[in-house]
């Protein structure tokens, strides 16, 4: 891929990952491959139901065995330097990875915290899960994390219960909790979608600072292309359980190759975009396909303006390298790229 990133240290390597839900035999992920280097911010974008969150959960080992079956490989370089295969890892070893090497924050801060414990207790629990410290040290550490998160009155927040805090505060608490064991990778699943725009900006800024300071890699799962463009070094675009385009963020967003990415770009509201240039919101026609009944050929062809009968509805395109260090899954990208 990109030459200057390739020299960096590999942190996570996902290879041919597929996930099938047992209840309805839906294949939520199909042959997903990507890598994340140490300290790198990678955005995973796509519409809801495209498999973004499932990818995050798979990395965390949070897809329960009874719930979904995984195949393929997820290799992670742990803090110890050990390279662990997370697919099929024994539960007790997976437990030492979760929250320790990889942490995750979720979309709904309002329901992420247990209503019956104080915030301090819940952060302390996360610290104590992986570090053998005396109780007083654990509490000091929890307080320090709340301070880092720029929470106005950390001592008060420490003894508060979740319902006493706003959504923004709760998400800060969640981030503090996620950072408690200094993970090398943070999976952030739409962390600001449920928040007000101003709060969203503050939290994203803080997350950016913390990420740079700690040299932590982030897999940023979002449907917000603007956020992805601002934050990410690289972008992965998902559609119907597959990666359809991948590459450096500036490249992908300035000149999308895959018609789906281009469609996503056109369908988002932009401030100051030239209306004269026809820059109005143009939603992609149709809806996300039912994963249980995927179209033949390219899964995007029924919604694609460039689809050609006899080709796009027959052949499933492979993810092939394109210019600018990108990869794209489209049969016609050479013909249609301007």
């Amino acid at each position: 891929m990109n030459a200057d990133i390739a020299v960096q240290e590999k942190l996570l390597e996902v290879d041919g990952l597929s996930a099938t839900f047992r209840s309805n035999s839906v294949r939520a992920l199909r042959d997903v491959s990507f890598r994340i280097d140490a300290g790198e911010v990678v955005a995973l974008v796509g519409e809801s139901g495209s498999g973004k969150s499932t990818t995050g959960l798979a990395i965390m080992g949070l897809l329960e065995r009874g719930e979904a079956s995984l195949s393929g490989s997820i290799r992670l370089v742990r803090k110890s330097g050990e390279r662990a295969e997370l697919v099929g890892l024994a539960e007790n070893r997976m437990r030492s990875v979760r929250g320790n090497d990889v942490a995750m924050i979720f979309q709904e801060p309002m329901s992420s915290l247990d209503p019956i414990y104080s915030v301090g207790d819940q952060i302390a629990e996360a610290i104590a899960a992986h570090q053998d410290l005396p109780r007083a040290r654990v509490e000091d550490e929890a307080l320090r994390l709340l301070t880092i998160m720029a929470i106005p009155d950390p001592a008060k927040c420490f003894v508060s219960y979740p319902h006493q805090l706003s959504g923004g505060m709760r998400q800060r608490v969640m981030i503090a909790m996620a950072l408690s064991c200094r993970p090398r990778l943070l999976v952030a699943d739409e962390p600001t979608t449920a928040l007000d725009v101003t709060i969203q900006a503050q939290i994203i800024d803080q997350l950016g600072i913390l990420q740079r300071d700690a040299g932590m890699a982030v897999l940023f799962v979002t449907h917000d292309l603007g956020l992805a463009a601002d934050l990410a070094d690289r972008v992965l675009v998902m559609y119907a359980g597959q990666i359809v385009e991948a590459g450096p963020a500036d490249q992908v967003f300035s000149r999308p190759t895959m018609p789906y990415t281009a469609g996503l770009m056109r369908s988002r509201p932009r401030i100051g975009a030239g209306r004269a240039a026809g820059g109005q919101i143009q939603p992609i026609p149709g809806g996300v396909p039912d994963l249980a009944r995927l179209p033949t050929g390219c899964t995007f062809h029924p919604r694609c303006a460039h689809a050609v009968t006899g080709r796009c509805d027959v052949t499933l395109p492979a993810l092939e390298p394109a210019d600018g260090g990108r990869a794209v899954r489209c049969l016609r990208w050479r013909e249609i790229t301007p």
């Binding site: 949070l62 990875v97 979760r98 942490a103 979720f106 329901s111 247990d114 209503p115 019956i116 909790m177």
Partner: protein
């Protein structure tokens, strides 16, 4: 909130009056006059009429009910037809016995239902076992469970005394040996109800996001289950504890009768069989009033803990 609780508490009065009146009128309607009960079937009509006049049984039922209720509120339930002691004297010494067994059974059932269904190791085996036991507890009548326990622990294994009662003063060990089987017997039904209620809530709570977050911290399944899921799933069980106290009396009647325990459940059966009308009425009233009060209490607790649910 306080006004709400107060209003709710006030509804105890009409409900209590209605159930006690229903009980009073139906019993009186069914048995005819208590005088016939007292004198037996071969009494002369004159004797019955005389006794009716003496005790005021010939007055309208509503007058009798109000008089009975007025006296009952001062603790005067009359005298037993059979032993001639006051009803209070008959009931009071037996009340602690029933309370001890009843409370122990409810506590045991709550504890067993919540922990057994929260166990995470060997879940595929333990969960169906917990559910199976719950179905047994709900469907099998108390006396059958009791007989099974007596047969197993007293007759076959010889570990515990079969029936009979040993008060505390005969020694703690002796006492505990005698109460163990009755408590197990009485708790079986409640274990079953609590388990089904708890499991439904537990499964719902497990799907909530904070449980996933707790797992994402790196906690073990057991820690997640006991620290986060259990405390968040226990509320409906607590509500059911309140609602169950009425049913507890039904169970106590059978259990005390089976194990020959001198509680008020056994006394109720004796009084019914002996047609000892004042004792029967008094216990009946205690039961229905407990039911009404406990149902209201359960409602109030639920409202306080769960403000989304509004009472009307």
């Amino acid at each position: 909130m306080l006004a709400l609780v107060g209003r709710r508490l006030l509804t105890v009065i009409p409900s209590g009056l209605i159930v006690t009146a229903l009980l009073f009128f139906s019993v009186n309607g069914l048995i005819g006059s208590p005088a016939e009960l007292m004198l037996g079937t071969d009494a002369t009509l004159e004797a019955i009429a005389e006794l009716n006049r003496q005790h005021g049984f010939d007055r309208p039922l509503i007058t009798q009910y109000l008089e009975w209720m007025g006296k009952a509120l001062t603790g005067d339930f009359g005298r037993s037809f059979t032993t001639h002691q006051t009803v209070a004297e008959a009931i009071l010494p037996r009340l602690p016995v029933t309370l001890e067994i009843g409370i122990a059974a409810i506590v045991l059932a709550t504890f067993a239902a919540t922990t057994f269904s929260s166990v995470t190791s060997a879940r595929v085996v333990v969960r169906p076992m917990a559910t199976g036991l719950a179905i047994v507890g709900i469907t099998l009548p108390n006396f059958i469970i009791g007989i099974g326990l007596i047969y197993l622990f007293s007759v076959e294994l010889g570990w515990l005394p079969s029936i009979g009662w040993a008060p505390w003063r005969t020694g703690i060990i002796n006492h505990l040996q005698h109460v163990l089987l009755p408590i197990l017997t009485l708790s079986a039904y409640f274990y079953g109800v609590f388990t089904l209620v708890y499991q439904a809530e537990y499964d719902a709570v497990r799907r909530r996001l904070f449980v996933r977050v707790a797992k994402a911290k790196g906690l073990s399944e057991r820690q997640v289950s006991f620290r986060h899921v259990l405390p968040n799933s226990i509320l409906p069980v607590i509500t059911y504890v309140g609602l169950s106290l009425g049913q507890l009396m039904g169970g106590a009647v059978v259990t005390e009768s089976l194990f020959s325990i001198p509680g008020i459940g056994g006394l109720l059966v004796d009084s019914i069989v002996a047609r000892d009308y004042p004792v029967m009425m008094a216990i009946g009233m205690i039961v229905v009033i407990t039911v009404v009060v406990m149902n209201t209490a359960a409602d109030i607790v639920y409202t306080i803990v769960n403000p989304q649910i509004r009472l009307d």
